[in-house]
Subunit: 405 residues, 2 copies
């Protein structure tokens, strides 16, 4: 049985007409001799509306109850799609996360998939039916409904594809693939035909919204090809798969940017063991994610240390770091929230000479000041002033000739 | 553990404010040293809206999918009520029908409860939590979600009360009890303090909307006291329980009426075995419920036969009966849809002399023609012209002195 998993996002199923359009596409894929599993998100803004409804009852809804409440959103879209398929003569059945055997831990609102028991799912596929599974959710061993948090439906789709040893996992969204840069910023940006998991991961982590890193990571672990396509316009999309052909490696694949960046700087930090832990442990305990960390070389036993957090976390982070700064006798604590990150991503660019220099040169030529620099194996990231990030993205896109195939 | 089951209908949970009011009432009942199970319906018009949504996708939604879709309505209200209770410091947990162990057969849209496995429910109650169960639904042995059809949430409540050996089952609704007649028709109608199961059953079957006969029947089988109360105004309500005190028996308890009545009459039907079966079997197979059946005495080997059906079923019923009428050589087939039923209900009234004569006299004095008559042990029903039924109800309510305690 050749299995194909297709995931349709909220905009793809917003309204009866779009649901019928999805049904048409699914039916066509099935005619192509595949067993089809469809993963759906909640229709349009349903999840936001349900959250608002919960908040109208209490400002701080209980996570377990919130998850069960939110899970109704995908149940609605799954059943409607099943009806639409059956109405056009295509056998179909909707399955809740429980029915599809998606087990998670009990971390409500941000559960992790622990196992998939696909017996029912396989039975329905064997019976010739399209199985429509509610995305974004699972059940605990106690049969409580959980939601997977951000990127949940993509994760459901990739996890099911892995469990069913699918041929590939198709992610239908409102853009026709992964772009060399955000096309709203760079009109010349083009869809990337093929990208390696690790490159996609870096792009996603650095701000590309099209796929959540979590789903990409899962795909990488199981080596499951993921094809990102538009629900609305035809096109080949972007294939996320194991390291692409050699000729497209060692080049910049895409530019990511993220405007949700705030910075905290500590000056005059004593350079001795345990200091970093003293600063970052309270942040970790409070659930504040720290992104870029930069520490300058030690000079006369003291060093400067800067790190970035999401803008929404800045106030909390400052409050947590303030007492530590006093305890360790840092000379100064400063913060800024008018920053952004821009990254170039491509396998091998970090080990190959010249990419970093070229990036800094392009930004310098554009008159853009670099505040912080950080790198990974396949990425170079610069923190720049927020009001200059769009210019930075455009300059890098042109400078690395990403508008050319 | 003294268990109380409370059921709140759709109007009682329509909106955040009403949900908080229900939470207040539930919390008060719990303070009264009871373990509380709450059964909720979907908020306001949610079920109708979901049906409309399904119909926007396909005119004829698949029953299994429709049931899973509709089940989301009660899940929403159950989780919101749990949040509201927790927000006021009252431990609470919502349970889907599956989590609450409500098993049904696989008759989608009209499933029957086959068993209740209350282990989880009992565990939550033992832990001191209010358990909020989604009404109107169950799961099959295959873990498919079903809905129970009309009267479903009342049935869920009474069934859970029986399974948990609750002290009683409280049904909160938008009226403050079972009335001697529809108060919209008879302003003097009053709430009946106590009524026997069989009387309530007859009232419900004959058109009183406050409780569905199915739930009453279940209460009767397990001898579970059911208290019908208003969510909105305080009051003692109506207790539905085993045969009331002797002094209130052998009197008319209430007047029911139903305007959803159509009649089919067959004249000149040969009076021989098998004829009734020939007429009613096709109706039963087609799922058309036949209500009142009246056959006149045979005269010269032919008889007249009339029966009533719901108005919405009339066309279908005529189409089914027409060929049978020809086969059996009935001389005439007629139908009418401008009828209504009015019934007096009270234990012992049928075996006691005078009630029937008094009923016919009251209607005659009011100048209302009686089209058909039918009786049960505790009920006398007359079919009358629809445009006279309100006058009939008023005349009977006054004639049997139901406005007096």
């Amino acid at each position: 049985m050749r299995v194909l998993v297709q995931k349709y996002g909220g905009t793809s199923v917003a309204g009866a007409e779009r649901i019928r359009a999805v049904a048409e596409r699914v039916a066509a894929s099935r005619a192509d001799d595949h067993a089809i599993v469809v993963v759906v998100s909640a229709m349009g803004k349903t999840t936001d509306e349900l959250i608002a409804l919960a908040r109208s009852v209490t400002p701080d809804p209980e996570p377990r109850e919130l998850d069960l409440l939110l899970s109704t959103g995908e149940t609605v879209s799954a059943t409607l799609l099943a009806m639409a398929l059956r109405a056009r003569g295509c056998p179909a059945v909707s399955l809740t996360a429980g029915q599809a055997g998606i087990r998670t831990n009990a971390w409500f609102t941000r559960a992790r998939i622990t196992a998939i028991h696909p017996e029912r799912l396989e039975r329905e596929l064997q019976a010739g039916k399209v199985a429509i599974v509610t995305g974004f959710q699972g059940i605990t061993d106690e049969a409580d409904v959980t939601t997977l948090g951000r990127g949940g439906s993509d994760t459901t789709a990739v996890a099911l594809a892995c469990a069913l040893r699918a041929e590939r996992c198709e992610i239908y969204t409102d853009v026709d693939g992964v772009y060399t840069a955000d096309p709203r910023v760079v009109p010349e940006a083009r869809s990337i035909p093929r990208i390696a998991y690790e490159e996609m991961l870096e792009l996603a982590q650095q701000g590309a919204k099209v796929m959540h890193p979590r789903a990409v990571e899962l795909g990488q672990v199981y080596n499951m090809p993921i094809l990102v396509l538009s629900s609305f316009v035809p096109g080949a999309g972007t294939l996320i798969a194991a390291g692409g052909p050699v000729e497209i490696r060692r080049r910049v694949q895409g530019i990511a940017h993220d405007t949700d960046v705030a910075k905290i700087s500590l000056a005059g930090v004593p350079d001795r063991p345990g200091i970093a832990h003293a600063i970052f442990a309270p942040l970790a305990e409070a659930g504040v994610s720290v992104d870029v960390i930069v520490q300058t070389a030690s000079f006369e036993g003291v060093t400067d240390l800067s790190f970035t957090v999401a803008r929404g976390d800045l106030q909390r982070a400052v409050a947590l770091v303030q007492p530590v700064a006093e305890t360790i006798h840092a000379s100064k604590l400063a913060s800024a929230s008018d920053l952004a990150k821009v990254s170039i991503v491509g396998t091998g660019i970090q080990s190959a000479p010249g990419y970093a220099a070229r990036m800094f040169g392009i930004l310098s030529d554009a008159g853009i000041n670099i505040d912080m620099i950080t790198t990974s194996d396949i990425r170079i990231t610069c923190v720049v002033p927020r009001d200059e990030v769009q210019r930075a993205v455009k300059a890098l896109h042109a400078g690395f000739e990403l508008d050319k195939q």
